[in-house]
């Protein structure tokens, strides 16, 4: 069983996001970049499968991003991926997600991966397009927002639980399959220092768009949305602090919610 993990690098969630004065993008300088938290679940799940099963022949981690994205790839290698593919593009916003999916599909199509794991969504742009779109382009089924996974002993099928409104769906699919991972599947272990050192020696294949046959046509063939301006979110008017003893404050709150906000 060959496993592929798709990893993304995103600004740390606690980073203060500033918008460039022209509004074309956020300020990138000094922003701490980390592995997308949902992709961490994918990395850990892949490594656990490799540790538990004798039929896993390799775990490859792939990232699309500028040179600096190599650091996120190294985290995946330190946790336990065997090798990496770095598809180098100039900036994080150069392609939209459908185009990124098309690029990844072109790079991995001949790879013969049986199980592809990635996060449910990326926490910066929150779009969640990559997993399902990549599955479609590779013509494999996908299970979105997976919270539990059991691969059959023969490695030919798996049963996954996925989260939906107020319920969990239990689905059975045949490999090859792509899974997007949600919170609850597993927690990524912290890579140890020796493993971080070892990760530097693991092979990483760098692919540039020029090396992808028909790159231009591929990008012209799907998606093509452009993020053209960023604005701060609309400000909320200052809130009201309701004074008084608990009973008194509670009564006033309920009155305001009924008469002023009209929400109950």
């Amino acid at each position: 069983m060959k496993i592929l993990i798709i990893v993304r690098q995103v600004p740390d969630s606690t980073t203060n996001i500033k918008i460039q004065s022209g509004g074309q993008d956020i300020e990138r300088a000094g922003v701490k970049m980390v592995v997308n938290p949902f992709d961490e679940f994918a990395i850990e799940q892949a490594v656990q499968l490799k540790e538990k099963r004798s039929d896993v022949s390799g775990v490859t981690a792939l990232i699309v991003g500028p040179a600096a994205a190599a650091e996120a790839l190294r985290t995946a290698l330190a946790v336990g991926a065997d090798d990496g593919i770095h598809v180098q593009v100039d900036s994080y916003n150069a392609l939209d997600e459908l185009q990124t999916a098309a690029l990844i599909a072109a790079v991995v199509r001949a790879g013969g991966y049986d199980l592809i794991l990635t996060g449910k969504q990326e926490i910066d742009l929150d779009s969640g397009q990559l997993g399902p779109a990549l599955a479609e382009l590779l013509d494999v089924p996908h299970v979105g927002a997976t919270v539990k996974l059991e691969v059959a002993a023969d490695g030919k099928s798996l049963v996954a639980r996925r989260r939906i409104e107020g319920a969990e769906e239990v689905v059975r699919v045949h490999l090859p399959v792509l899974l997007t991972c949600d919170k609850g599947l597993c927690e990524m272990r912290y890579p140890s220092l020796p493993n971080l050192m070892k990760a530097k020696k693991k092979p990483v294949k760098v692919v540039t768009p020029a090396e992808v046959p028909g790159f231009g046509d591929l990008m012209a063939g799907v998606g093509g949305t452009k993020m053209h301006s960023f604005q701060p979110p609309p400000e909320r008017p200052p809130g009201k602090i309701i004074p008084g003893e608990p009973e008194e404050a509670a009564r006033e709150l309920v009155r305001l919610l009924r008469e002023e906000a009209k929400v109950i």
């Binding site: 969630s13 938290p37 926490i123 397009q129 969990e168 689905v171 009201k240 602090i241 906000a261 109950i264």
Partner: protein, 328 residues
């Protein structure tokens, strides 16, 4: 491509998702600009009630696709079904609700039809050049990004629930037709074995109009009882912060926040939640926010419309009692 706007009217068990009806409002506004019609499609097995509800919501045409194989959602069967409807209707813009189903389905269909897609949008317009232009929150709601679509290919957008009001039901004047489901090779590769309700009879945070949410200050699973009591009188769901879930007070299925669920209810009541960025990311889209916290410096008060500085163990039961008293 026509100038029509297509709505994917999500239903389960012949019950429309509330977010599906809400799509009529932006679809009407877009159709007024493109000069096209609003077409709704309902995909499933038994769907007469869902199709009627859509027809009464002011759409011009309702297309149904009914087949036993479509009884439960499957990413593969539904992408084949929706793609077939889109190829028939040839809409300029297709809207889906940004629900678990819509978020799962839209990218597959967009990739299949070589279309373009933006997810979780909160604003839609047609610009001077005739291209779709949408707004969507990014970076945990710390910025709003505008996205322009290419003019020459079908556009798909999933719309954040509770962003637009549902139209008042009116007369049933919509034209009706149906299309058959023709499976694509391999559609059977996903088999739904079971749909297991989580949390019993209690509503899920992603399907509730009101959410009562608790943080680490609740101190135990047992203490969440006072939140469940308030939730019951308000017909609300109970949510929790990451800290509360990680401490084991509530399951992760109730977690609201960056790595939990993103919610946009009409009313969000945060009890003993300080307001870490991770939590705010999941609930800042709520219409009205109430914060109850003993620390008057807690960041949640900056976002709250109404705040009570006090002991939640006294305040929350007092709110429950007051709502109960008013409801008689």
């Amino acid at each position: 491509m026509t100038n029509d706007i297509l709505i994917f009217a999500e239903q389960r068990n012949d019950k429309l998702h509330p977010a599906a009806l809400q799509l009529v409002t932006p679809a009407r506004a877009l159709a007024a600009k493109t000069g096209g019609r609003v077409v709704a499609c309902v995909i499933g097995q038994a769907l007469s009630a869902a199709a009627d509800a859509m027809a009464q919501a002011g759409v011009d045409r309702v297309v149904t696709m009914s087949d036993p194989a479509l009884a439960n959602y499957s990413a593969l069967r539904y992408r084949t079904a929706l793609a077939a409807v889109m190829e028939k209707v040839q809409p300029r813009v297709t809207l889906l609700p940004a629900t678990f189903m819509g978020r799962d389905l839209a990218p597959r269909v967009a990739a299949r039809l070589k279309a373009a897609l933006a997810t979780d949008v909160v604003d839609l317009t047609i610009d001077a050049d005739g291209a779709l232009d949408v707004g969507r929150p990014v970076y945990n709601g710390k910025a709003l990004c505008r996205v322009r679509f290419p003019k020459d290919r079908p556009a798909l957008a999933s719309v954040r629930p509770n962003t637009f009001p549902a139209p008042q039901p009116g007369g049933n004047t919509a034209a009706r037709d149906s299309l058959p489901y023709t499976p694509a090779p391999g559609d059977e590769r996903i088999e739904v074995q079971e749909i297991a309700r989580t949390g019993g009879a209690i509503k899920d945070v992603t399907e509730a109009d009101i959410i009562v949410s608790g943080g680490r200050a609740l101190k135990s699973e047992e203490n969440f009882k006072i939140l469940f009591e308030l939730a019951e009188v308000l017909d609300a769901a109970v949510g929790a912060s990451r800290a509360a879930c990680d401490a084991g007070y509530q399951p992760h299925s109730r977690q609201v926040g960056l790595t939990g669920k993103t919610v946009t209810p009409r009313l969000y009541i945060a009890c003993g939640i300080s307001g870490a960025i991770q939590h705010l990311a999941g609930m800042r889209g709520s219409k009205v926010i109430v914060a109850i916290n003993s620390d008057k410096e807690a960041p949640i008060f900056k976002l709250a419309d109404y705040g009570i500085v006090g002991d939640l163990f006294k305040v929350v039961p007092a709110i429950t009692a007051e709502v109960r008293r008013l409801k008689g």
